[in-house]
Amino acid sequence: MASEHIPFPHNRTHTEELEAFMDILFTAIDNVITFQNMLFVCIACILGIIGGALPGFSATMAVALMVPFTFTMEPITGLVTIGALYASTIFGGAFSAILLNTPGTPSSIATCFDGYPMAKAGRGEEALYTASVASSVGGLLGTIILILFALPLAQVSLRFGPPEFFWLAIFGLTIIATLSDGSILKGFAGGFIGIMISMIGMAPIGGDIRFNMGLVSLQGGVELVSVLIGFFCIPEVLNMSFNPHQKQVIVDKIRGSRESLRKAWWNVMGHPGNTLRSAILGAFIGILPGAGGNISNIVAYNEAKRAAKDPETFGKGNPQGVVATETANNATVEGALVPLLTMGIPGSPPAAIIFGALLMQGIQPGPELFSKNGDITYAFMFSFFICNILMAVFGIMAGKYIFRLVTRIPTRCLIPGIILLTVVGTYAIRNNEMDVILMFLSGILGYYLKELEFDAGPIVLGLILGPIAERGFVQGLLMGGAISMDHPWVIFFTRPLCLVLIALCVLSTCWPFFKKAMDRRRAAKAG
């Protein structure tokens, strides 16, 4: 299946740019809408909803387990499948949040606040349909934001040289360290652990083989996707196995009434302010490196509550709570792809896995992605329009069957099933036993560090940003050496874009302290 090449539009008039954009859009549509792609998108949507609805089965896990199935596919088919799975898993989390009061994914935590009370009051179906429509609308708005932001940002990032990439990697690290769960100190430490692990194997400049403990299989470095699968899947499996006989209580049923669907439509479309605000918040939180749906759904919920005329009804079954969280978490999916596609920095943990998937397809995410692999990139972005619509259709039409299936999957099948997928998936990447061993060992390390309050997010981002930072640092020093032999490091502090990035690093590091001070002042005023 050959896809058409799309040129990257730059230095043109507005009319030419519009024409080029329309050309890109139609070629992307042509590349995406094939029988094979649509079939895989449908399968991914159904699997994603099932995976998302399973408590303890996160979107990151779902994407990580799907990657090995896709790397032998055509790049567009593989990426479209992963994208659809990512979006629908986030949506699927709403099912168990509403009907079981257990968020299927961390992105649905705030959906429980109002979804569950609605279900308890016999309005579970309305809540679920509201979540379906809101997720779809959030995803569609997020896709528009992705398309609008990706191109200009890619053009800016084309001006980046090694020193800028070094600071960009540091900025990504500061953001994720400050936004990760737990202490900032441990967030930073996690990032640096990831950077150190990324240095195992061949140095990007110089070619030295480092830290491989003399093992030949580690000379090429740690296999990124294997380590990601280990870090995100094995700790969850160990946690699940701690109590495999947990009973779940379903509080309401899905009957398929049109009245509920009509109400759901009104809940989303009749309150455009809440829907738009939540989508924009979700997409922008997604753009921040490392911040995912787990943050955006809570922020959007709080903002919806703050802006509402009846804030006291939130937490007692207000559908606007469900709208806010579900719109935001699905808009985050596309937002998280903006830094990934334009700068090669993932915006969320599942985006980190997509980073690995792109590498496995031989595609390097970053500024040149749009010019070198424009056909694939635009098709991938466009596919989110389709999967977000299909996701809602499946949620509404097949939701009751999917949920019935999910509640019948016992943990005793789920735990060995996930391990099976991690083992076979990791082995399939390079036919290398060492990758599987490394996957399991990194999973155990991930579990151990998580118990000590080191979040997996910063470690994984450090793993991805490490080579970018190192290459930027060493190449920057070499460039600096050509300007001043005595002070080659000056180059990192004199270029205008470097200064902007340094300012962003300082701002993101200091932000939690500012926020704490502001909260204290606000509390003092209120008290």
Partner: protein, 153 residues
């Protein structure tokens, strides 16, 4: 039970990680390009480890219960997982995956549900699942999975 300080343990772990990398840096000769970055990152990680330990004294983050929750099921999962991984090439994907899948299912089945019928179902289910994934990966995705002892497939 005495409550453990997560910061001490976390800081100590980081220092151990630093030591692991430092030993390998000190024991080998590398070019300047290969060491520019690690030589700068490693001290930062060590400083962060010390800061976390200091935080453990000043504002400790203590675990309410034991830090590492371990029970029989978890240990069995861990050991089975390790066996699965280390025996994959020796016994082959089909055999080791079938044994581990079936074994874990038996372990996680509650006593009330454990009947001869359920065991037979699990046996059949494990076999079908393993063969299904083997078929998918080998036939459709073109991946070579280790055959191990089962060489006739």
């Amino acid at each position: 039970m005495q409550r453990l300080n997560r910061d001490f343990l976390g800081g100590g772990t980081l220092l151990a990680i630093c030591a692991f990398f430092y030993v390998q840096m000190a024991g080998n000769e590398f070019s300047a390009y290969g060491m520019y970055f690690p030589e700068r990152v490693l001290p930062i990680l060590a400083i962060l480890a010390v800061l976390i330990i200091i935080k453990g004294f000043v504002k400790p983050s203590r675990a309410e219960g034991p830090i590492f929750r371990f029970n029989k099921n978890m240990i069995i999962t861990l050991v089975t997982g390790l066996c699965w991984v280390f025996l994959l090439e020796r016994l082959g994907f089909l055999l080791v995956s079938f044994l581990c899948l079936f074994g874990l299912q038996c372990v996680f089945t509650s006593r009330e549900e454990r009947t001869l019928k359920s065991v037979l179902w699990q046996l059949a289910g494990s076999l079908v699942t393993v063969v299904f994934f083997y078929h998918i990966f080998v036939q459709y995705l073109g991946v070579t999975l280790p055959k191990g002892l089962i060489t006739f497939m």
